[in-house]
Symmetry: C2
Subunit: 162 residues, 2 copies
């Protein structure tokens, strides 16, 4: 079967203090002190109107330093392998990341954010407002993560391009 | 400036009872009774291992019936226009959707899900486990949505291809 492909455009770039995978927080909840900026391209200025009312935003971006994909990986939070779709690891069929970061300030085309777990230079594809009524399920059972064997909160180089 | 494009492959298809935008719940929280299936292509069978431990999953998919993009839209939940990035409306620069649905059962390449707010036939790009520790912020302030003027919980045809 021939693959069906969809093409998406970069709409901006994510600037972050995390320059290398090694030591980067694996999720926003482990990145409380980390601040970064999201810089949108000029044509998207008006599309940011009213974003500042939201305390948190979803960033959708490309894991541009991830290398290919694997059906099973040993994620940072465990010592056992799991199917890639049961993990948030970057080595996915489509290297798409989603992170819910805290929005500090919108300044023209620049958004200042905190709790950023994204590598510097990641291409931005979309921004969505975080809405607890749509996105928050505090009691949801979380499979292997609920009893994960590894306390790792920061990445190493396992998923990086070599 | 020339656009930078990224290409993503369809990994499966979403089957849903919502055949038309008109009347489709605008978010999973308004779709409690709606059940659907997510059908992955054969090559991703192993990548689903351990998914069943998760009560909810994120589906990342293409709004394939949305028409172009607009910097500002009047979303279903309001009567005023907002920047597209301050809404979850489909007419985005990149027509990418994320929905947190309830996982009922994994059966080989088929995932049975509930609370589905997605139109039938949407191309699937990624599945991620929902993890409250990463994704749940019940108290997050949600801008215009917190005081939205429109009680609409189901879509009409405003964002559809004509």
């Amino acid at each position: 079967m021939s693959e069906i492909l969809f093409s998406f455009r970069q709409i901006g770039v994510i600037h972050s203090p995390h320059k290398e995978a090694e030591g980067t927080p694996i999720q926003p909840c482990y990145a409380s002190g980390a601040e970064g900026t999201v810089e949108l391209f000029q044509e998207y200025a008006e599309a940011l109107d009213d974003i500042e009312g939201f305390e948190r935003i979803w960033l959708l971006y490309v894991f541009n330093r991830s290398d290919g994909w694997q059906p099973k990986v040993i994620p940072f939070r465990d010592t056992n392998p799991h199917g890639i779709f049961a993990t948030r690891a970057p080595r996915r069929p489509n290297p798409l990341g989603i992170s819910c970061v805290r929005l500090l300030k919108a300044d023209g085309l620049k958004l200042h954010v905190r709790e950023i777990d994204i590598l510097d230079g990641a291409p931005l594809l979309d921004i969505k407002p975080y809405a607890p009524q749509y996105d928050s399920y505090p009691q949801a059972r979380a499979g292997w993560l609920d009893s994960a064997a590894s306390p790792l909160e920061f990445a190493d180089r396992r998923f990086e391009k070599r």
